[in-house]
Symmetry: C2
Subunit: 409 residues, 2 copies
């Protein structure tokens, strides 16, 4: 299923307002928006997945606790960039304060607020600028405020990430849209960075969680920029039911359609995150097919997309397929390496470089032409089953080193 | 125990000759030595550890098979750089041919030859230059040929790596020395790259293997340059018994002394490999102490030393300890993150940056001074036991990208 792509990001679904602004969380920074608010007109069923890092940002702990208290209900999201509020002794207190400020200004309960932060780890979060900003954020809320919000959660991202689709369930038009931020410290395990997805399609909290966990596994969790798993990974999915469909409470055709829409939104946001990885000049998509099972396909595709040597070769447009095979070889999964085929492909064509685990003759000139494009596919066939998975990543460049070698980026 | 450091590398022990020369394995390359031979005057007990990558270089397969046939006996090592002889349909045949040529020239059995290759993966190995070189290599063999051999196994290494010690067992002077090559595709699991260690101390094959496997775990396996595990990792330990001690056949004081000597040789070679990592400007040593057990200490130290974001911060001399804590947090081990302390140290001093999992005030100027040195220690205390481990690595720099983005490096 492929659904119609629409505008509106996190405001594409009925009844979601958003706003964003600059409040000055980090001194001497550019005046880029640094705080975002998303609010639903009515209560939302809400599902989340979070970082599995032992070091958890304080907002992750507070959001989980809030959603436990409300049984998976939320009405608003407050999120800031420029400071991760992580590894600070007073972090949880500050994260709760952000919820309290937001709840008071909106006239809702503190526990109905989702809070998220992204930026530098280990610096005390200044609450004063946020306190001053919240009333104005509430005043600015609008059904077209999605861009202001999407910009506010950006850190080293060079472009904002938004995607939305329209689909039909029960004869009702439903909409779903999201925003995401990258673009370093990305090797997710359960979720990635900050991601907020809203929908007016009515889905129970349980089924929302089931859909989100399932789709995260084959989208965000198949993304690697640099192998570093963030401390603040959060992915929230909120459903306010305003599309008017009968609430989805079980498996079935409606749930399948909903999941397909969610896959389309999340896979496209994942792709945007990969393409805008820190310092990236090329989007790399690794598709592992003919695998004995889905997990094997995921493990192999992720192993290749993470390899620093392979990423450097792609930066240099060098058809060094030995590095692909090397990374396939150390993937922790069970398959026969002597059956593996590898091809490189792009808008400029497709070329076979390895058959049955050994090199084949190919034209270096043709390979160079293919790899000089800015979107490259690495096609791996294990020739041992029917499962398939995709992993997304980017090349490793001078600029990745520059961005992350600079003082406290 | 700290033993006297001596010269001689792989020829430091009694009865080991070596040679190295240029034979032209890769066209249009500099005339650096590309083939090495090491020969013992008498038969050696021999132990090995090898890559765990599913893609195994043909020489790894042939060497393992040879040592199985002889029950862990070998007399010679033939090793080349510039071509890994991996992922080639005729790879094993070529590796066996290298053993045959060497054995014929030395008048020994084919199975008594250890073979190893390092270099580009997936290009057919030309045997002709090797065939022409072997007689000359044999003619050049000398008790002072260690340097010629050490240079011949270098790939992108900028310096040769040799280390040797002298120790006493049974009132007999024993010697042990080794040579190693780096310097990319290094994230070992069981062994790293090519490493050859020779000793005249008499040790049974079983105890030799036991010592080697134990020390590899806390030296080569605690080294990460880039997280890419090579296909050709091989570490051989050969003992010819010419020191005249009673052969070590069981645990005890003599075995402990032997292991301490082996640790000193391998830890120092590991350190050299880290310092000469591709593009490295800084040696990073991460010591995890007060851990509940050795495995936890190893896992935590390796997780930090592998983190690309942390490695970039060190390149920039940025005391971004949040990235250290982030990498500790995603280490797959069981400990209490809220007890963790972190310090940075170097010749310029020592500074506390994190206590009990949270940041502490420190002077950025002082931190900068410490991190501007070219050998940095990252000291992590888990405050939860008495185990300790060290991991070695280097910073991530523009030059790593340059070296590996260039055509087929």
């Amino acid at each position: 299923m492929e659904f119609k792509v629409i505008d509106g990001g996190v405001c594409a679904a009925k009844g979601f307002k958003a706003s964003g602004m600059y409040c000055g969380i980090k001194e001497n920074s550019t005046k880029k928006n640094d705080i975002a608010l998303v609010v639903s007109d009515v209560m939302c069923n809400t599902a989340g997945v979070y970082t599995q890092n032992k070091v958890k940002g304080a907002p992750v702990i507070v959001t989980k606790s809030n959603l436990e208290k409300t049984g998976g209900k939320a009405k608003a999201v407050i999120a800031n960039s420029k400071n991760a509020n992580t590894c600070n002794a007073d972090g949880e207190e500050k994260a709760m304060e952000m919820c309290r400020l937001t709840a008071n200004a909106l006239g809702i309960e503190t526990e109905q607020v989702v809070v998220a932060s992204t930026g530098i780890i280990g610096q005390i979060l200044p609450v004063e600028p946020i306190k001053n900003a919240v009333p104005e954020l509430v005043k600015k809320l609008s059904y077209t405020g999605n861009e202001e919000a999407a910009v506010a959660i950006m850190t080293t991202d060079t472009v904002k990430k938004e995607y939305a689709v329209e689909f039909e369930i029960d004869g009702k038009i439903c909409r779903m849209g999201g925003m995401a931020k990258g673009s370093g410290m990305i090797h997710p395990n359960m979720a990635t960075t900050l991601n907020f997805i809203t929908t007016d399609c009515g889905v129970s909290s349980d089924m929302l969680q089931k859909a989100l966990s399932g789709i995260v596994k084959v989208t965000y969790n198949c993304l690697s920029i640099d192998g570093d798993q963030s401390t603040n990974d959060t992915c929230m999915l909120m459903s306010n039911g305003l599309a008017g469909n009968a609430e989805i409470t079980a498996e079935g055709e409606a749930f399948d359609t909903f999941k397909a829409a969610l896959y389309q939104v999340m896979a496209n946001l994942t792709r945007m995150l990969a393409k805008d990885g820190e310092g990236a000049t090329k989007l790399l998509t690794c598709i592992c097919s003919s695998a004995p099972d889905l997990d094997t396909a995921i493990i192999v595709a992720k192993s290749v997309i993470r390899s620093p040597l392979f990423k450097c070769a792609m930066f240099g447009a060098d058809a060094n397929w030995g590095r692909v095979l090397c990374a396939i070889g150390y993937a922790e999964a069970d398959f026969d390496i002597s059956k593996v085929d590898v091809d490189f492909a792009s808008a400029a064509g497709k070329i076979a470089v390895c058959r049955n685990g050994a090199g084949v003759d190919f034209s270096e000139d043709e390979a160079k032409k293919i790899l000089t494009e800015d979107e490259i596919e690495i096609l791996i066939s294990l020739n041992d089953g029917t499962a398939q998975a995709t992993a997304w990543g980017c090349d490793l460049t001078y600029d990745y080193v520059k961005i992350n070698g600079d003082y406290r980026s």
